[in-house]
Every structure is written in C-alpha cells, then in structure tokens.
Symmetry: C2
Subunit: 238 residues, 2 copies
DNA sequence: AAAGGAAATGCTGTATACAATAAATAGCAT
DNA sequence: ATGCTATTTATTGTATACAGCATTTCCTTT
C-alpha cells in the first residue's frame, strides 16, 4: 500500500474528527437550507455514512442535532427525512420572527457602528449579486445569514440562536410554500434596513422589519402540499 | 436462572426503549432544574449508564440533547457537566424572557378561558403549597412549569418551546446566583397574573409579567463564583 | 385475477469492543 | 525539595456486530 493510501486510510485523530463532524453537519444543514435537499427527502444513515466516509455513529449524532433543530424529522424505525413544515408551523415561525426580530431592532440600532454596517452592506451586496446571476440557492442562504447576523449584532447570543433556528426553518417553509423565482426578501429591503439602523433609528427599523417579514409571509401560498396517498375519490370525481 | 431474572435481563423492545429514554431524559433534566444536580456537577457516562440500566449509547444521546438545550456542557475528552451559567448568559436569558414572555401575554389573554384559568390556578396553588412545606426543589420546578404552560396557552408551539428552554436555564441561573430561601417568584404573583389574563387585560398582564421578571432578575446577586485559581495578589494585597 | 399472508430484505436501535487522549501519579534529575 | 518527564489510569470517541421492526415481494388460495 502506498504512503498516500496509508494516509487516507489512517484513522483520523479526534480533533480532526470534531472538525470533520462540524463540517459534515454544516454540509447537510446548508444543503437543506439551500433547498438542494427538498422537504420530504429521505436521509438514510448508510448512504450519508458512505458519502462522508465516517461510520453511522457519527451520522446519527448529526441527524439528532438536525432533528432537535427541526430541520429533519426522525420517525422511529423509519429513519430521517427533511422536515416538511405544516401551515401551522409556518405561521408560528413567522409570528415568532415578528416578535423576536422586530423586538431586537432597537438594540441593534443602539449598538450599530461603521464596521458592522459595512459588513451588513457587503452581505446585502452578495445577496443581490447571487439573485441577479440566478443562484437562487445561494441567495436564500445569504438572506438567512443576513437576518442571523443582524440578530447577533444585538449582543444577545441566546436570542440570536433562536433567530438562527427560525431562519433555517423559514428556508424550509419557503421551499414548500414559496413561489418559484420569488425569494421572499425584496432585493433592496435589506439595504434600506441598514440605512435606518445606521442612523440609530431603532423604532423605524423595527417597523420596517415588521413590514419586511409580513411581506415574506404574504408571498407564501398556504395550500397544504398534496399527500403521498392521493384521495382518488376526489381526483376522479367520486 | 429464574423467570423473574429472565424477564429483567430481557432486551427491551424498541417502543419500551423509546419510552425509557424519554423517562431518563426527564429524570436527568428534572434533577438539574430542581437543583439536585448542581452546576458544575460532573455527569460520567458510565455512572449514568449503570444507574439507569442502559448502555452508554443511550446515555450519550440524552447528554447531547441536554447539551443542545444548554443544561449540560460537553467538553471534548472531558465529558459532561451541569452547565454553570455566566453572568452574561444570565442577562441574555432574562432579556430574552422579557421580550418573549411579555410579548406573548396579549395572545394568552385573548385565548384564555375558564378551563385554562382553573388549570393555572391549580398549578399556582401547588406551587404555594410546596413553598410553604419547604420543598424548595419542587417549588422551583412548579414555578418553571407555570411559565411554560402560560406560553403554551399562547398557541404558538415554537415560542412555547423557546420559553421552556429559557425557564430551564433560569433554574440553573437561580441555583448559581440566587439567594438561599428566595425562590425568585413571589408566591402570589402568579395568582395576580391569572386575574389579569382572565379579564382579558393583555396589556396589564404584559406589564405585570415585565415587573415580575424584573423582580426575579433583581433578586440575583451577580457576583461571579470564585474561580478555582484565586488571584493571590489581590487576596494578599500585592 | 385479486387478495391475503408468509418469507425475505432493508434499515434502524442498542450494546459492546477497541482506540485515543487527557488527567493523575510516581520516579528521576537537578 | 522542586520541577520535569514518563507511565499508568480513567474516561470519552468511534466503529462494528447484532437484534428487531417495517416494507416489500412473491406465493398461495379463493
């Protein structure tokens, strides 16, 4: 066996293993958020273990984490699949975002500075660019990142984590109930928001965020997806 | 081997296993929330596995879940220990509770009915009784349960789950920064709150909840626990 | 031919064995 | 005696083997 093969087969040390785990978690999480893995898609442990070159043990750990974040659904003896949010869950998520993200705007405005504003503008720019070049998956992810970064700037790590979870789930909701080609966030909304925050106008930013989120929610078509077991009577007219 | 021993040694079927896992999770979670397991306490996998009669595999799953809920801290190669919240985390948690729990009060008031009010009054009664009979651990748990049930009555499962997490962490915070014999919640506060909610006075309930949470936070002494490595220079005056 | 059931297969849940590393301790040198 | 290093011990991280349910497939029966 050559040295290269030996190196490849070498059991990774634990620190490397931790980083690898985190990388795999993010790979799966990103794939879900970017909608490359669509709601309902099954995630078999063996398949994932083979793709990423680790054993099922590590995969299970990652799937459990994703399940607690409600990105995947774990049904006993059936395994994991990408969560298909219900209409009720969608309402809850957007109501929660209204409460939390809007409530954070005054704090964010208070703590805003030039460096943070520049960072946000760069993120908004990348998002617009992705949208222009038709990379919808990337744009969805960047949009979620923008909202999360905003929450982090409030200084409250706990609430920022909540927002992170809500944004991930929002991506799933958009995948199921959103219209094709409509991203949810208007391309210039984020830039406008930065403007209000830069001038320290927290209340105005709060109101704007509220309209922004309402606009996203309103762009959804809240018809429940057809079940896998179609109602034949209805389809064929009795 | 007798039949009884055979029955005991029998590998539990999977459904039984699931219930058992949930029971163990709640046993550990309750012990932490009720402060029978104090912050900093180490949770060795072998010890837990033996106590509950399952293998380390199941224990690890439970510990990971508790870690994601930030009730236990998982340090690589060192294992699990009950989380010792920092002063900053404590501030974040109570700020988050201010935002979320207060924000939910109008919804709760709108959805309040006789059955719900009766249930809440019963919970408040049990809490008072536990406090009177000196069962501080039980009282802490019942107080957290009250806040969680309240959030659930808002109808938003997502936000209710967030409140559940925040209340659990609040118990840890009280364990570290609270004064002995002072529970945080005043005994009659919860009853007063139910009154406002029963009359549909959401705004008044919101204001009351805000004062209630502020009072709990104010009762904490925010001095960081002494470190294991004391600052000798300061202690001995240079 | 359709429906019901039984065998077979696929996949997950659990335990256990083994590898790796961090902490503790003892021994050695200065 | 103190500080450093090596060995031992305790504990976690990972893989794998095996057991059990769910689903599918094929055969039998009506």
């Amino acid at each position: 066996m050559s040295d290269a093969q030996t190196a490849l087969k070498r059991r990774p040390t634990d620190k490397e293993g931790d980083e690898r785990h985190e990388a795999i978690y993010r790979a799966v999480s990103d794939a879900i958020v970017e909608q490359r893995l669509k709601p309902g898609a099954r995630l078999r442990e063996d398949a994932l273990a083979e793709v990423f070159g680790i054993s099922r043990t590590g995969i299970r750990k990652i799937l459990q984490r994703l399940a607690l974040e409600q990105l995947v659904t774990l049904t006993p003896r059936r395994g994991a699949s990408v969560t298909r949010p219900t209409a009720e869950e969608a309402k809850d998520v957007f109501d929660a975002r209204q409460l939390i993200e809007c409530g954070l705007m005054p704090d964010v405005a208070r703590r805003m500075n030039a460096a943070a504003a520049a960072e946000l503008r760069e993120m908004a720019r990348q998002e617009r660019q992705a949208l222009r070049s038709g990379q919808q998956s990337v744009a969805i992810r960047l949009s979620a990142d923008f909202h999360v970064r905003l929450a982090q700037l409030s200084g409250n790590a706990t609430l920022a984590e909540f927002v992170e979870r809500l944004c991930s789930r929002s991506s799933l909701i958009l995948a199921v109930y959103g219209h094709r080609g409509h991203l949810g966030c208007e391309s210039h909304d984020h830039d406008d928001l930065i403007g209000y925050l830069e001038t320290g106008n927290g209340e105005r930013a709060k109101a704007f965020m509220s309209r922004h989120l309402k606009a996203i929610e309103a762009s959804l078509s809240m018809v429940e997806e057809e079940e896998n077991v179609p109602d034949l009577q209805q389809i064929f007219g009795v």
